[in-house]
């Protein structure tokens, strides 16, 4: 469980990046954090592992106040894949990169090897095992940071813009991985501009604007609130826009393109 209680954070240049954020993410929930560039999403995420400490208010991770725990302690509970993978890759080889945290957490060499192989296979990186992380493409680096985090099996996972640089095949795999994590009861927070990627997961959606939470609810409801989305500069999923424009609508907005096609065919024809 992650709990933000009236959290305020001010950057050195005086910009108030978080302005009284209160938010509670329950264990096993899937939350999409959306909002325009500069809304405070990444700053919020950095508070979870204690990289940033609140100027006022508090952040609790599994009941532990982030001001009273080290980043290492918090990292054991929460894995964060940051937006820019270059900020978290530093080893000589892909294999060492993946082993690093596992060894630090004291896993046996055999278990480290198993987890590394599992992660490399899951994210299609097996052929780079002995390569330097620096030769990977941007999209591959992002997948490597994800693999590193999932390998140590944290209870909570935060993904900051995971789809950047990923083609549609990789995005589908990523969606599958998130489904898999959901089914194992992990708490997942996804920060993303990629509304089309988020929509089929039907997450709880938290909308941020100017350092504040301005919307919070199930995707199905929140994504139909055009006024809120426009004010926060968040796009509406194409299928929701289409659904809202149809005069005869089914009870709930379409989640998948095939649902929309089938319903329209069956609903419109005599």
């Amino acid at each position: 469980m992650i709990e933000f209680m009236d959290v305020t954070f001010v950057h050195q240049n005086g910009v108030r990046a978080l302005d009284g954020v209160s938010l509670r993410v329950e264990a096993g929930e899937v939350v999409a954090l959306v909002g325009e560039n500069g809304a405070g999403k990444t700053t919020l995420v950095k508070h979870v592992t204690g990289l940033l400490k609140p100027a006022s208010g508090s952040v609790l991770v599994d009941g532990v106040d982030t001001r009273k725990a080290s980043t290492a302690q918090l990292s054991r509970k929460v894995g964060v894949a940051f937006q820019n993978p270059d900020h978290q890759l530093f080893s000589e080889t892909v294999e060492e990169e993946m082993s690093f945290a596992l060894r630090n957490f004291g896993y046996s060499p055999e278990l480290v090897q198993n987890r590394v192989s599992w992660g490399l296979e899951l994210f299609g990186l097996e052929e780079y095992r002995k390569s330097s992380p620096l030769v990977l493409s941007g999209g591959e680096k992002k997948r490597l940071t994800l693999a590193c985090i999932l390998a140590w099996d944290p209870q909570m996972v935060i993904l900051d813009e995971p789809t950047v640089g990923q083609d549609s095949i990789q995005k589908e795999k990523l969606a599958g991985t998130i489904q898999m994590l959901m089914s194992t009861g992990k708490t997942i927070v996804v920060v993303s501009h990629d509304i089309e990627f988020l929509w089929p997961m039907q997450p709880r959606v938290v909308v941020m604007k100017g350092g504040k939470v301005v919307g919070d609810g199930p995707a199905r409801e929140l994504m139909q609130d055009r006024e809120l989305l426009d004010s926060a500069r968040v796009a509406q999923p194409q299928l929701v826009e289409f659904y809202q424009l149809l005069e005869r609508r089914p009870r709930a907005p379409f989640v998948h393109p095939l649902d929309a096609g089938r319903w329209v065919e069956e609903g419109i024809r005599p």
Partner: protein, 281 residues
């Protein structure tokens, strides 16, 4: 108008690489087009771009065959200085190409390096600021700007060089959707006003298909699909090559020829809804 970019039988293999990054590639892009280059990660897009701005073969070793010509001049026989003026390159992350203390100085940076006379430089910087509607930011420090503004500053620096061809490498990936659609509208406007040719590498096609003339798909270093966005996205093979077919296009495809939905061109969600309801479009 002639072809601004011609790629003929291009193959390239990095030193010690097991296979070609680009293989037997042909492409001709007429001046003034907006072309989207798509394809799965590692398909050779970045390598192809490097052969256009000259980093390959001038800065990378490797086996190079075939030819790439920009405005009729062969890239391999041109020097980097000349290429920098004919081909503009906007990186994915604008922070990688913004580093001066003021927006104005940043936009002037490339021109200063070329030794453009001061009066001419002033005019070109002002023109670029005006085109991107960032004249009011001229004296600001780039690091204080929003991501969308930074991208405009970086693009102004590129346009001040008055390139004939501008390459945008995943320009919307770090932008929120509204800022991203503003950037796409900007590209369409610059093409209209300046006749600049744009090659855009992008995974997210929902915004770009509305303004693009052509969609080229690469896979395994080869060109596998080429056509109008409608033809490529309506085809059977696009998804197999890692192309993200927009959700609304998938619905349109399913309904094409039924319930009043046409397959002649790609429809936006509002147009598709209107067609389904028999309200035209």
């Amino acid at each position: 108008m002639g072809d601004i970019l011609e790629v003929e039988g291009l193959s390239f293999r990095y030193p010690e690489a097991p296979r070609n990054a680009v293989s037997g590639f042909d492409l001709a892009i007429p001046e003034g087009e907006i072309v989207v280059l798509a394809g799965p990660s590692g398909c050779g897009k970045s390598t192809l771009l490097r052969t256009v701005n000259g980093l390959i073969p001038h800065m990378y070793g490797g086996e190079y065959s075939g030819d790439v010509r920009v405005a009729g001049s062969s890239v391999k026989d041109s020097n980097m200085r000349d290429l920098a003026q004919s081909v503009g390159f906007l990186f994915q992350n604008p922070e990688n190409q913004i580093f001066m203390f003021s927006v104005e100085r940043d936009v002037a940076f490339g021109l200063e390096n070329l030794g453009v006379p001061r009066s001419d430089m002033r005019a070109r910087v002002d023109e670029a600021l005006r085109l991107l509607k960032i004249g009011d930011l001229a004296q600001r420090a780039p690091h204080e700007l929003s991501d969308g503004q930074k991208q405009r500053v970086a693009l102004a620096g590129v346009l001040a060089m008055r390139p004939k061809l501008v390459i945008l490498d995943e320009p919307t990936s770090l932008l929120d959707p509204k800022t991203a659609s503003e950037l796409v509208a900007l590209v369409a406007r610059l093409r209209r006003e300046l006749g600049t040719t744009f090659v855009v590498v992008e995974h997210r096609l929902d915004l770009l298909v509305e303004v693009a003339d052509r969609l080229v798909v690469m896979d395994g270093g080869k060109k596998v699909l080429e056509g109008t966005p409608r033809d490529v996205l309506f085809g059977e093979e696009a998804e197999a090559h890692g192309v993200a077919v927009p959700a609304i296009t998938r619905v349109q495809k399913m309904l094409a020829g039924k319930v009043g939905v046409s397959a002649d061109r790609l429809l936006a969600p509002s147009e598709l809804a209107a067609a389904v309801e028999g309200r035209g479009a």
